[in-house]
Amino acid sequence: MVNFDKVTFEYIRRDEEGNVESINKALDEIDLDVKKGDFIAILGANGSGKSTLARHINALLTPTEGTVYIEGLDSKDEDNHLKIRQKTGMVFQNPDNQIIASLVEEDVGFGPENIGVPTKEIWERVAFALDKVGMTAYREKSPNNLSGGQKQRVAIAGILAMKPECIVLDEPTAMLDPKGRREVIETITELNKNEDITIILITHYMTEVIGADKIFVMNKGNIKLSGTPREIFKEVDLLKEYQLDVPQVTEIAHRLRQKGMNLPECVLTVDELVEALATGDRG
């Protein structure tokens, strides 16, 4: 679905006369292969290149060197941009900046209308999308009166109405309360399972990625680690070098193991640790 072949991207800063002042290599020969229906997560320090990578997936940016293919479409060819943007939708951090219309249903219908979908089909898509994110009851409400988590679900519905094959979410939960965060993660998990939509999630909340099929860890424009959540989160010390962390329960289990307790190597959820401690042999 998404293929990066040795992708390098440089932000070039110029002064008023157009002379190059500095070059910042934000992506450095990135190879990435995301299969249709995958749920992948991208972790990494501030400035490591996550958003830059994300913007390549829907051709907001194109590589300085190397090639990005979206379902075989080369993003360097501008004729492909419209098709690429129909296949891949983006959700950003700030829910307020993503809402445009004064009614929820108009907001969700805005995208399809913009690309010339016939009116009858627009309303079908709006109904479908709102149903999928659990916001049908708010159809005729003003988005301004929704909670942050609800606004993000409306933003996701707006993308869904475009019938994308892939949704890229760049820190969609950063401004949300705990309930809103849970709602967004549940929503995208269901879209991935039930609608087979490819999900690419960028986040700084470690607990949000434990359900991903695969995690990529970025550092200074490179992908340093990749693997299942259990493979990644057992690297407690290495992750800290990359400015990352592990979920609290993972850290607790890790420390208990170091003290000699007999626990599984990488615990990811509260349930797992409760079971291990309440029923197991405690070393």
Binding site: Y11, R13, E21, S22, G44, A45, N46, G47, S51, Q93, N94, N145, S147, G148, G149, E171, A174, M175, L176, D177, P178, K179, G180, R181, H204, M206, T207, K240, Q243, L244, D245, P247, Q248, V249, E251, I252, R255, L256, K259, V270, L273, V274, L277, A278
Partner: protein, 283 residues
Amino acid sequence: MSLILDKINYYYGKGTAFETAALKNISLTIPDGEFIGLIGHTGSGKSTLIQHMNGLIKADSGSIYFNGQDIYDKDFKMTELRRKVGLVFQYPEHQLFEATVIKDVLYGPTNMGLDKLKAEVLAYGSLRAVGISEDLLDASPFELSGGQKRRVAIAGILAMNPEILILDEPTAGLDPMGRFEILNLLKAIHEAKGITVILVSHSMEDVAEFAERLIVIDDGEIKYDDEPRKVFAHAEDLRKMGLEVPQCTELMGRLADRGLDVDRNCLTIDEAVESILNGNRRK
């Protein structure tokens, strides 16, 4: 440097069809030198409340006293309040405006009338403290990654040496280690200079670990104002308000429910590990 809020009410869109009561009868006393956490669901009124504290928003009714002086008195010097009560905005984009990072951070101290050298010492020192490397000093603040913008916005307020430091979700968008570093920096400043810190956050883990007093606001009303440990003992009630308890607190509650001899009110990883290894000493 005490701040007293007495029966504050505030409405957005007063007198229009969209009138919303954002703050309802809020009374709070903020004495010298506390580290306060402020939590609440999205739209609960946190940002509205803290903007009252440095006079950016004027209450529709009620009074605010800064060191005993009524800030709505016509003789009161609002500029003085803005200088002493530093506020880091929720969205860095609302705060950053200069052409370069260093100019942005120099703006506050320069505007306070400090000479160039003193202002520079403060600006460079603050940028270093928040982890902005020197090669970014001449970059435009708008060409930074999300987390880098956040750090520059924090540095800009730190450079003004405020006596009360209010931060609206300062760790949103920071990588996990950066989050930890910034919180430790706030703690160090709080301890070294005795300044009051008010931290608005959606991370239960952060306020559990760093706040000495925790205020919970729900639909514009104060629901709890107590030690974090006492507040987080109300897990069910917090969930109803869209909040949570820290993951380690949830774990310990579940273990205690299963009959293990552990302290269900642990707030940090250290406390949880200690209690699992050595049993419940707090009883």
